[in-house]
């Protein structure tokens, strides 16, 4: 098997006024699983179609294992592709579907049928070779599509929201299956999804797409713990977001808004390329927020912590965790997530509470994006739990 190193260099595609893909560069290592994650219309699927050769980029290069594919027809690229709606050939049995790429490559019948059998067994569909796609369930159809895309040992496998049409349980089972299979055959994978949980589960690295550009590329942990922009912070996971202006004085740094002040780790403004007075935002993940009962002077800081006082509006039981929604006195809302069993006190709705977090848990980002969704709306968009 060839190695499967993919390089995209300055790839752009414009439809009329719309920059569908805007100067995207991406290097994927052999055997790596990279996910393109972003809202719909952010350019991730167009990028995938450019790699597959279905869409010709206006500018930039697609290079696979040192071979420039930019002007190569899709059928000469040797790239496997799995589509969201499976795109199985309805007039062929699943066995014939999987055999199709081998036939196109002139593999002799005996070798082909052995390989088809092997691959169907790999995706746990042994014995279903004679069935037509319409006789298979959605999950089985997607397994056939996967088998068909890897049976000819491509060095690169592209997957376009392959699990989008399946229910949650099946989706989670197939996520693990796809990971197992892609590792087993050692293929490089570029995977497109808008489901961030799926991306976190499956990927070695994730590219966050926004308006045709890669906003940030990194491991799931990097994106979650150190988002490079307000968009990424808002898109990946749930967040409490404080938008205001940066104030630095000496070694001390804080983002200041209307009646509040959130301290950040000294030095982080420089890392984020921010100067005194710049529009900035602080992102705090709900599980970093501690909640205690009792009243606290608003805005006072307590040692190394940022502390805010408010009233518990809702307590939501999520099974493994409990979510506290806290209204601050200025009308904004904070969310805290506490593991069940690790709570120090149980607070009821209406109770006075104070939320606090170490300043090291504040992530400082430049506030350049359009207004991010409110915390409530972000929850709906996450939709996982």
């Amino acid at each position: 098997m060839s190695s499967g190193a993919l390089n995209l260099g300055g790839v752009s595609k414009q439809y009329g006024e719309l920059h569908a893909v805007d100067d995207v560069s991406l290097d994927v290592a052999p055997g790596e699983f990279v996910t393109l994650l972003g809202p719909s219309g952010s350019g991730k699927t167009t990028t995938l179609r450019i790699i597959a050769g279905f869409t010709r980029p206006d500018a930039g290069r697609v290079v696979l294992d040192g071979r420039n594919l930019t002007a190569v027809a899709p059928y000469k690229r040797d790239i496997g592709m799995v589509f969201q709606n499976y795109a199985l050939f309805p007039h062929m049995t699943s066995g014939d579907n999987v055999a199709f790429p081998l036939r196109m490559r002139g593999v002799n019948k005996r070798a082909a049928s052995r390989k088809v059998e092997e691959t169907l067994a790999l995706v746990h569909l042994g014995g279903l070779a004679k069935r037509y796609p319409r006789q298979l369930s959605g999950g089985q159809q997607q397994r056939v599509a996967l088998a068909r895309a890897i049976v000819f040992n491509p060095s690169l496998l592209l997957m376009d929201e392959p699990l989008g049409a399946l229910d949650k349980k099946l989706r989670e089972a197939l996520q693990l299956e796809i990971m197992r299979i892609s590792r087993q055959v050692g293929v490089t994978v570029v995977y497109v999804t808008h489901d961030q949980e799926e991306a976190l589960v499956m990927s070695d690295r994730i590219a966050i797409y926004n308006q045709g550009r890669i906003e940030q590329l990194g491991t799931g942990e990097e994106l979650y713990e150190r988002p490079a922009s307000l968009f990424v912070a808002d898109f990946v996971g749930e967040s409490n977001i404080f938008r205001g202006r940066l104030e630095t004085s000496g070694r001390d740094a804080a983002v200041v808004g209307n009646g509040w002040r959130v301290r950040v780790t000294p030095g982080t403004p420089m890392e984020a390329g921010l100067a005194n007075g710049d529009a900035a935002a602080v992102v705090v993940r709900p599980e970093r927020l501690r909640v205690r009962g009792g009243v606290h002077d608003p805005g006072r800081t307590d040692g190394a912590d940022n502390v805010f006082a408010g009233v518990v509006r809702e307590v939501i039981y999520l099974g493994s965790a409990r979510k506290y929604v806290i209204d601050l006195h200025d009308g904004t809302t904070l969310q805290s997530r506490v593991q069940v069993g690790e709570e120090t006190v149980q607070l009821a709705p209406g109770a006075a509470a104070q939320a606090s977090w170490p300043i090291g848990s504040s992530v400082l980002v430049r506030d350049d994006g359009p207004a991010p969704a409110t915390v409530e709306a972000a929850e709906v968009a996450v939709g996982g739990d």
Binding site: A73, Y75, R77, M81, F83, N85, F89, R134, F152
Partner: protein, 265 residues
């Protein structure tokens, strides 16, 4: 439970409308089995003599053979051209596409007499009037819109990703068409071919202009017979024409039904 009476009354209305539509046509069938000398309804008795008369007259059988020839050749040319046209119109992107589409579909909209007269004067000059080639060409123009529309519908409902998948799996444009696209739009092509057959088989207006005394199709001979002598042979011929047309249309229904079974998930 208002539905309880709505359904039967809807069926009744539909039945009455259907009866009014087909009754004038179906009345010809009992008339063709008449034992009498004249065309009359109800027929005085049963006989198959007028069918025998048809098969023993070289005027009628020659016309029938001509009709079959013209219809089959029209099917061949119209289906091939129509399928290619549909591919171009559905998949292609080129300037003036809407204009080409309108031109291709125009024979279905322009009154047939106009098409007939126009074609007649041009074909006289080209020495195609009164020839098999001329009539096949004229009928192809009439049948083409039907093929383009039925094949076009099949192509539009075909998931584009299926063809893209074939390409990504190593099939070039030619093999993608023959292995994937063609088998999947075949029901549409067959339906288009049957419509093309029926169009030519029943067509009388253009045929009147394009035929000669030595080269006549069944509908043309019927037309000239109706004007001179009316005997029940006409009814027998009409029944035969109708039987074949109905057969073709039933085949269309069967082909479409089987296609819908195959693609249903």
């Amino acid at each position: 439970m208002r539905r309880d009476w709505r359904r039967p009354s809807l069926n009744a209305v539909a039945g009455v409308i259907g009866f009014f539509l087909v009754a004038p046509t179906l009345i010809v069938v009992p008339m063709s089995f008449s034992s009498g000398q004249r065309l009359e309804f109800p027929p005085p008795g049963f006989s198959t003599r007028w069918y025998a008369n048809f098969f023993h007259s070289s005027m009628w059988t020659d016309a029938a053979i001509t009709s079959v020839k013209v219809a089959l050749l029209t099917v061949l040319v119209a289906t091939a051209l129509g399928t290619l046209t549909a591919l171009g119109l559905v998949r292609g992107r080129f300037p003036g596409k809407a204009l080409v589409q309108a031109l291709v579909l125009s024979p279905a909209i322009v009154p047939v007499v106009i098409v007939a007269i126009g074609t007649f004067f041009v074909f006289i000059r080209w020495r195609l009037a009164g020839t098999l080639t001329g009539l096949v060409l004229a009928h192809t123009a009439l049948a083409l819109p039907l093929v383009v529309v039925t094949v076009g519908t099949s192509l539009r409902t075909l998931d584009r990703n299926i063809e893209l998948a074939a390409q990504s799996l190593g099939a070039g444009p030619w093999r993608t068409f023959w292995r994937i696209t063609f088998p999947l739009i075949l029901p549409g092509i067959i339906a288009g071919a049957l419509f093309a057959f029926v169009t030519s088989w029943d067509e009388v207006v253009v045929a009147i202009f394009m035929t000669s005394p030595l080269f006549r199709t069944l509908p043309v001979v019927m037309w000239s017979q109706v004007r001179s002598e009316i005997d029940p042979t006409i009814a027998a011929v009409a029944s035969l024409l109708m039987a074949i047309t109905v057969l073709a249309l039933v085949l269309v229904v069967i082909v479409r039904w089987r296609a819908s079974l195959r693609t249903a998930t």
